[in-house]
């Protein structure tokens, strides 16, 4: 059982939206997060965590299958740093009303 976008849409609809509006709002929210990260800005949700954008330098790597040397280009990746508050909740150190 995994939480999916459909679950989010359903729960947001309970805030008093039609399913259709809720789907649009959730999509807009996700799009805002993605375009902010695309622009190189991080997203900090206090109590949850932080989505960061990291610049990776070009480096030499190896194809593990063939053993050939190759150059890995510079790239940009997303990392997630979990909030200490959420870490404590996941580890049962903070009680949470569910």
């Amino acid at each position: 059982m995994a939480l999916t976008k459909a679950d989010l849409v359903e729960n947001v609809a309970r805030e008093g939206f039609t399913k259709k509006d809720s789907a649009k709002i959730v999509e807009t929210l996700l799009e805002l997060i993605k375009s902010t990260l695309k622009a190189g800005d991080e997203i900090l949700i206090s109590g949850f965590g932080k989505f960061c954008v990291k610049e990776k330098k070009q480096r030499r790597g190896r194809n593990p299958a063939t053993g050939e040397d190759l150059i890995l280009d510079a790239r940009r990746v997303i990392t997630f740093k979990c909030s200490p508050v959420l870490t404590d909740k996941i580890n049962g150190k903070l009680s949470v009303p569910m």
Binding site: I25, L29, I43, R76, I90
Partner: protein
């Protein structure tokens, strides 16, 4: 961008009252948080997925004093970036 800026941006984009947009953002991240606390996966197409991973304890050192310390086993959520976001963020 922090949570309140995200709420403002959502309110503007969707023509919502600030209070309503705040409820939406809290619901979305609250749902994800609850799922992770239950040990469930979170899978949002286009953004990525979260999975709680169990990490073993280990003996570490306090880098300041050099003292040996025991790091207890812990669970941490691991985020795997989705294909769409990964491709969009990467430099061309």
């Amino acid at each position: 961008m922090n949570k309140s800026q995200l709420i403002e941006a959502l309110a503007k984009e969707e023509n919502l009252a600030l209070k309503k947009a705040e409820e939406v953002v809290n619901t979305v991240f609250g749902d994800m948080e609850k799922a992770l606390i239950r040990g469930e996966r979170v899978e949002i197409r286009g953004l990525g997925s979260f999975k709680v991973k169990q990490y073993d304890g280990y003996k570490g050192r306090n880098p300041k004093t050099g003292d040996i310390i025991k790091v207890a086993p812990k669970k941490l959520p691991f985020f795997k970036v989705g294909k769409e976001l990964k491709e969009r963020v990467d430099v061309d």
